[in-house]
Amino acid sequence: MPTEIKAPILRLHDVQIAYGQIQAVKGIALDVYAGELVCLIGANGAGKTTTLNAISGTLPIRGGSLQFQGQDITSLPAHLRLRAGIALVPEGRGIFTRLSVEENLRMGAYTRDDKDGIEADLERVYTMLPRVKERLAQVAGTLSGGEQQMVAIGRALLSRPKLLLLDEPSMGLAPLVVEKIFEVVQTVVKEGMSILLVEQNANLALEFSQRGYVMDGGKITLAGSGEDLLNDPKVRSAYLGEEAA
């Protein structure tokens, strides 16, 4: 909770990101505290995915700085950010379609060498996502969208991240699958993991989040607790599909 006085696990300071001449993110500040579920909502093209990619290290930033656990990670390459404890479930899931489901999950544990820990974590993923266990030997490209999303999340959890970045986990999925995925999200948050969630489904995201940021045109236009944002008339009219009163 923001009332506690402690340093954030993730801090974005005046972050600017550009694709060539086009500035996609125009100087944003954003904090995530330990054990917090924070969501980033906004319309298509607002810069949400761009921001997550920059945090994961797969996209360079043009200006500003990124701090993770008090360390500056602005120039750290993606593979070292994962080792530091940041995992991203990318938009479109990023499944290795030619690898088996089990190999996909094991890729998540690529940086670890504690065999017993990995096996235990695999078992945990199977318990949380029983559908995944039924398909371990299958080539991942043959899975349904929902199953792929579960594998992508399970895979990210296998790196035992301190901060999990989720990009549109509900996109294109059936309501039952979305429910299952948010169940997992809540479980890991309860265990102390921090999550930064990007969602187009603002209603869903705000309902589960402690805090939220609203992004528009590359800037953060609103920030607040999930509940406040959910009741904010501007948010309701812009992102929750309600007529302005």
Binding site: S56, G57, T58, P77, A78, H79, L80, L82, R83, A87, L88, P90, G94, F96, T97, R98, L99, E103, R106, M107, G108, Y110, T111, R155, S159
Partner: protein, 333 residues
């Protein structure tokens, strides 16, 4: 019948060398989408370094047995080629990773010229005879079919190397990271994979295999030469395309098939194009004398065996561009 068996033996030997080289092409293509045209020249460097080291060892420690001498030469060739593969990737290809595809392709051809020219400066333009450390005295397991100890060793060791590579790629953590990187660099890096390192390792493994293939090639034919990499290189490339470029099993199958087709084809090319077999021609005034008493007038001799590789390349590219085993070409999702 003996001719056929003999050509099958020859085809398997040369095919396994093609396969080893084709693996290098296909691994690099799988992970970078790049045809590394300098790969054949790495083979040449391997053969010439081995030659140099073997000659040196023979002079300095004449008492050393032939097998240790060969192994020292082979190891030196592998070390030099692996380092060379790393340097090529690091200096020539890495900075072009996001460039339009034509740029790395042209660079690869440039690297190939560079290696050949350097080799020419170091080793001269002459053919060097490669020390025959393993007997090339043919054995005759079946009447009329000959195989040399060198060829037996080539067959066995390339089979072992291919099995080892398949196990490495499919069963180990490194192999998994290689396959993941080949499919998607970005997501692989999100898993904590240092993709630059994986790509460098791919070049190093491929170059090591090329060094071995170079020593095999020169041991089999007894010569080494600064331009010797071109033909096996282009044929191994054909083998990789034939099997389905990017596909390891495909490179192996493609190499063996190409070796067999080439060698069986060469075995029969002469008599198949013998005009004396055609009665009308044989009795014509100009050929009558030549064809008398079992003479022959072959339009294409076995010297033309190289055409098979290119005919195959053409046919594959026209009718099955994904190759025998490859069903994926454009799946960068």
């Amino acid at each position: 019948m003996e001719t056929l068996l003999q050509q099958i033996v020859n085809g398997l030997v040369v095919g396994s060398v093609y396969a080893l080289v084709a693996l290098g092409y296909t691994m690099v293509y799988g992970i970078l989408g790049l045809i590394n045209f300098a790969h054949g020249d790495v083979l040449m460097v391997g053969a010439l370094v081995a030659l140099q080291v073997i000659v040196f060892v023979q002079k300095t420690w004449p008492a050393l047995g032939t097998i240790p001498t060969l192994l020292i030469g082979l190891s030196a060739a592998m070390i030099v080629c692996m380092a060379l593969g790393y340097i090529i990737e690091r200096t020539a290809y890495r900075r072009l990773r996001n460039a339009p595809r034509l740029a790395p392709l042209i660079t690869a051809i440039g690297v190939s010229f560079l290696l050949q020219t350097l080799a020419m400066i170091i080793w001269g333009r002459n053919y060097h005879s490669f020390p025959q450390l393993i007997s090339t005295a043919p054995l005759q397991p079946v009447d009329g079919v000959f195989i040399t100890p060198v060829q037996i060793i080539i067959l066995i060791s390339s089979a072992l190397l291919m099995v080892a590579l398949i196990l490495l790629v499919n069963k180990t953590r490194l192999g998994r990271a290689m396959r993941a990187t080949a499919e998607n660099h970005r997501v692989a890096s999100l898993m904590g994979v240092d993709t630059n390192k994986i790509i460098a390792i791919t070049f190093i493994i491929g170059s090591g295999l090329a060094a071995i293939a170079g020593v095999m090639f020169s041991s089999n034919y007894g010569v080494a030469h600064y331009a010797m990499g071109f033909t096996p290189g282009i044929k191994a490339f054909t083998a990789a395309v034939l099997g389905g470029i990017g596909n390891l099993g495909g490179a192996m199958v493609g190499g063996i098939v190409l070796g067999l087709v080439e060698s069986i084809g060469a075995g029969y090319l002469g008599s198949a194009t013998d005009l004396c077999h055609l009665p009308l021609w044989a009795q014509s005034a100009s050929l009558q004398a030549t064809c008398a008493n079992g003479g022959s007038f072959e339009l294409l001799s076995s010297n033309y065996q190289d055409i098979f590789a290119f005919v195959i390349l053409g046919i594959v590219l026209i009718f099955r561009p994904t190759g025998l085993l490859g069903e994926r070409v454009s799946d960068r999702a």
